[in-house]
């Protein structure tokens, strides 16, 4: 047995430490295409055990990768550098719900949707709702600053995190809270993809459930006109709770899987959710329908029941899974443009995909300008793989050219780290490196992630 394994077992007990290759395989990948076996995987039960793991890692010179539910799409939880994977499967409790002050304290392994389920009886919910909310963990959501369809109105994860407890690179426990005076450390930890510390407890804001909710479906001839309608709705001063678009490829797949009632003959479907006071529902719906019709909508209807609303959303959130019916593999891109640029960028995406002789399905958070082209391919055909890589990077560049960014909610991870330099200058990256120097000078937390490999040792560290 290695020294590392021995020390981990001494600290956590044999049942919390995995070192056999067949056990480690589970911890070698996430929802991205890379995999690499770690030296060990641990499943701590509390913050004290996490501090011990971090200290042992420091003494043995091993990197540490924190892992939530493994649903990340950019390789953020892949131990590309080996080392220790820390799983939060046992730290998944709700520690406190304070309904009066609308706060909850939870452990990072808690599944996102479980928090809303636990608070629904008090009329509260946790607003950030990534499509993976049934399986993804709050800790992972915090690492990537996860979004979701309802971010349009409620904001992303960072807007709902009020405090964090984390274990720093020396194995010390540090607490930060937004009401503390001083620098906003929680603000910079959220979205740092596990590169600054290991989060062990999270204070979140809960939101009052709206009194009334209405979900409507509009159809369009194509994605561009649906995108234009989104821009016009926002431009008219109306911000619904969600504005989502699915193209014909996606609605075909989700209908086959869910039979939710999405029309099959339209080029694109626009899903609109409004929420608020019951008194306002009719007027809000009428105002949006008017703008949408003026933009050439072929149809407009409101879901009639809670069951119908739930089904429409289940199908929308299950889109990525449903696409498995169409091709052996798919690659999902995640990038953002200013909303008004959606029609032109969507046209460009079509062109890029056509040039590479690929098929694409589009399902995206149109209200936020957050695109998700799903490029369909067959991994067994080398030509396909090359085409997907090229098309993916051209789509990113198109977004940057139109004032956008290279990730809206999935993170940079291992996948896009070389692309970060397209967006930021060496100075910008070096400034981020100063923060990393403070939190993790030895680069032990989740190495190989976020920052370009060329910058990781030189520019990003050359801060002083």
């Amino acid at each position: 047995m290695s020294v590392l394994a021995e020390r981990l077992i001494n600290a956590l007990g044999a049942d919390a430490v995995h070192t056999e290759p067949e056990d480690l395989a589970v911890y070698s990948f996430d929802a991205y295409s890379e995999d690499r076996l770690p030296s060990a995987a641990v499943v701590p039960k509390d913050v004290r055990e996490v501090t011990q793991v971090v200290r042992i890692a420091a003494e043995c010179g091993e990197p540490i990768v924190a892992r939530g539910a493994g649903t990340g799409l950019c390789g953020g939880a892949v131990p590309t550098h080996g080392g220790i994977v820390v799983s939060f499967a046992r730290m998944n409790r709700i520690l406190e719900i304070d309904t009066r002050n609308r706060r909850a304290k939870v452990e990072p392994g808690l599944i996102n949707l479980d928090l809303s389920r636990a608070t629904a009886r008090d009329g509260l919910f946790y607003a950030p709702d990534p499509a993976s909310q049934k399986v993804s963990s709050l800790g992972g959501n915090i690492a990537t600053n996860a979004g979701g369809p309802h971010c349009l109105s409620y904001g992303t994860t960072t807007n709902h995190v009020v405090g964090l407890e984390y274990v720093d690179s020396r194995g010390e426990v540090v607490t930060v809270h937004q009401d503390d005076p001083g620098y906003d450390l929680a603000g910079v930890l959220v979205g740092s993809e596990g590169t600054l510390g290991i989060v062990t407890s999270i204070d979140v804001r809960l939101t009052r459930l709206p009194e009334a909710v209405r979900v409507c479906v509009a159809t369009f001839g194509d994605v561009e006109s649906a995108s234009e309608a989104v821009s016009q709705v926002i431009g008219a001063g109306i911000v619904p709770i969600a504005l989502e678009i699915m193209d014909k490829v996606i609605t075909g797949a989700v209908e086959a899987a869910f039979k939710a009632g999405y029309p099959q003959d339209a080029g694109a479907v626009l899903l609109v959710e409004i929420a608020g006071l019951a008194d306002d529902m009719d007027a809000s719906e009428a105002a949006i329908a008017k703008v949408v019709r003026a933009c050439g909508a072929l149809s407009w209807r409101a879901a009639r029941s809670q069951a119908e609303r739930d089904l429409l959303w289940a199908a929308r959130k299950g889109a990525a899974g449903a696409i498995g019916r169409l091709a052996p593999n798919y690659y999902i891109q995640d990038c953002v443009v200013p909303r008004t640029k959606l029609p032109v960028v969507m046209r460009k995406v079509e062109e890029i995909v056509r040039d590479h002789q690929l098929q694409v399905g589009n399902v995206f958070h149109a209200g936020d300008g957050n695109l998700h082209p799903l490029l369909l391919f067959d991994r067994s055909r080398p030509r396909d793989i090359q085409a997907v890589i090229e098309a993916g990077s051209q789509i990113l560049q198109t977004c940057i050219d139109h004032g956008g960014t290279i990730s809206g909610e999935h993170g940079i991870g291992y996948e896009k780290r070389e692309s970060l330099g397209l967006l930021f200058s060496a100075d910008d990256l070096a400034t981020m490196g100063r923060v990393r120097d403070v939190f993790d000078p030895a680069r032990r937390f989740n190495p190989d992630k976020i920052f370009p490999s060329s910058a990781s040792c030189n520019e990003v560290r050359a801060a002083s």
Binding site: D98, R100, N101, T144, T158, N159, V174, V176, H177, D180, P181, G182, Y183, D184, L185, G187, V188, V190, G191, R208, E211, Q232, I234, G235, G237, I238, G276, L277, D279, D280, A283, V336, P338, R339, H365, D368, G369, N370, G403, G404, T405, S407, G408, E409, H410, G411, I412, L420, L423, F424, D427, D428, A430, T431, M432, R434, V435, D437, V438, S464
Partner: protein
């Protein structure tokens, strides 16, 4: 570059004046000034409209006042995107009037908005009472350009509302009081203006305050701001009762506001409050004056502090503060924010005490307040602190990390040295 002449008193902090004042006209000039000052060992204090100079301790030394007022251009604004990128020196008043042309607004409720700048408001970490609905200033910020002490111009974020590309550096600059860098440009999310805005104000008779506050917290239509106000009589455009007044702001559709008003009358009525006044005409002006009352009413012999907490404890805290203050010669005005859970307290000396006695009395009063509210920070003061009153309360648990960040960003302590907590 242009240099302001004899306006140095505008830049006075605690009686200290800078050796010189610079007014750069673009971002590169800001960076160049910082690089040169850093090399020369001159301390630079970035200053916007000067409306929140009461936040923070006096600088350890103070050679250069760097005014951001000329960095006031719009960089990007397409109203259909609901975002704007503007220079840090743009005043909130100017920003509001630009956005109003398209019936849009940004919910940064800072005092003296006509003079307050975007960069200054963000850097001072100003928190307005509508943040429970619209988010904190940091939640509105989607990107920044910041000049660092060594002359680096660093960009973070961008012009899109969702972005997880690299660290969210903008968060770090908000409420850093200019000690990590000088924000030169800020990109913000903006919002469509609600159809209607209404204030309801009620005078609170003896014995009604606690119940009125509790009933308001259970309203079916949530106010965007809910304030219990006691004092500040010389500024506010409405009358106070024996236990002050309650002011509620509602925004939304006309139908929602009508329903809210019915609910408020019923909630306050059952708390024993006889009359609720509706302010529609001039509601925005009344609201602005209430925000100004937080800070701008700095009386000569006063110190204004803010303590953050949660609604649960806030009434008890406020009562405790009163008890703590009572034995001294100081008087107290308070604003309790029922939605966000903070207490704004202004202690002042009303009488003919001499300067020394005023200082001693205020110092005792702040100490008494901090005995109950250890984290209370100074927002404004009508006298120089001179070391007898620290602007910051208890140091946060992560102070060591903050010190390390300062050392990494500004190793020679060129930027606002000593203004921030813990001597940062």
């Amino acid at each position: 570059m242009p240099r302001a002449k004899a306006r140095a008193n505008v830049y006075e902090i605690d009686g200290r004046r800078p050796t010189r004042v610079v007014e750069p006209t673009n971002e590169q000039e800001v960076a160049d000034i910082l690089r040169a000052a850093d090399a020369a060992g001159d301390a630079v204090v970035p200053i916007g409209g000067g409306t929140l100079l009461g936040v923070g301790n006096p600088p350890r030394h103070y050679e250069i006042a760097l005014s951001t007022l000329r960095l006031d251009s719009v960089h990007v604004y397409d109203h259909r995107d609901l975002t704007i990128g503007a220079g840090a020196g743009m005043t909130l008043g100017h920003l509001a009037s630009l956005l109003a042309k398209h019936r849009q607004f940004v919910p940064l409720d800072a005092p003296r908005a006509a003079a307050a700048t975007l960069g200054g408001t963000l850097a001072a970490g100003w928190l307005g009472p509508r943040r429970a609905t619209y988010g904190r200033p940091r939640d509105l910020l989607i990107g920044t350009t910041t000049a660092l002490a060594d002359g680096t111009l660093a960009h973070a974020g961008g012009m899109v509302v969702k972005n997880v590309s690299g660290y969210d550096m903008s968060r770090l600059y908000v409420s850093s009081l200019g000690t990590l860098g000088v924000i030169t440009r800020a990109n913000l999310k903006i919002l469509p203006m609600p159809a209607a805005f209404r204030l309801t104000v009620a005078r609170l008779p003896e014995g009604t305050r606690a119940r009125a506050a509790a009933n308001v917290q259970g309203l079916d239509v949530e106010p965007t701001a809910a304030l219990l106000i006691d004092g500040f009589r010389e500024i506010l455009p409405f009358e106070l009762g024996a236990e002050g007044a309650i002011l509620l702001a509602f925004e939304g559709s006309a139908a929602a506001i009508e329903r809210a008003t019915r609910s408020v009358r019923s909630a306050l009525g059952s708390a024993g409050v006889p009359e609720t006044r509706i302010i529609d005409t001039g509601a925005h002006q009344t609201f602005a004056r209430t925000i100004d009352a937080y800070v701008a009413s700095v009386a000569e012999r006063s110190v204004t502090l803010r303590a953050l907490g949660l609604p649960d404890g806030v009434l008890k805290r406020e009562a405790a503060a009163r008890e703590g203050i009572a034995p001294t010669a100081a008087l107290l005005d308070t604003i309790v924010d029922l939605r966000c859970g903070d207490l704004i307290a202004r202690v002042f000396v009303d009488g003919k005490l001499d300067q020394l006695a005023v200082r001693g009395t205020l110092s005792d009063a702040v100490a008494a307040l901090r005995a109950r509210l250890p984290d209370a920070t100074v927002l404004a003061r009508g006298l120089a602190l001179e070391g007898d009153i620290d602007a910051w309360g208890t140091l946060p648990p992560a102070i060591d990390v903050m010190r390390d960040l300062k050392a990494r960003f500004d190793p020679r302590a060129t930027l606002a040295p000593g203004r921030f907590l813990g001597g940062i």
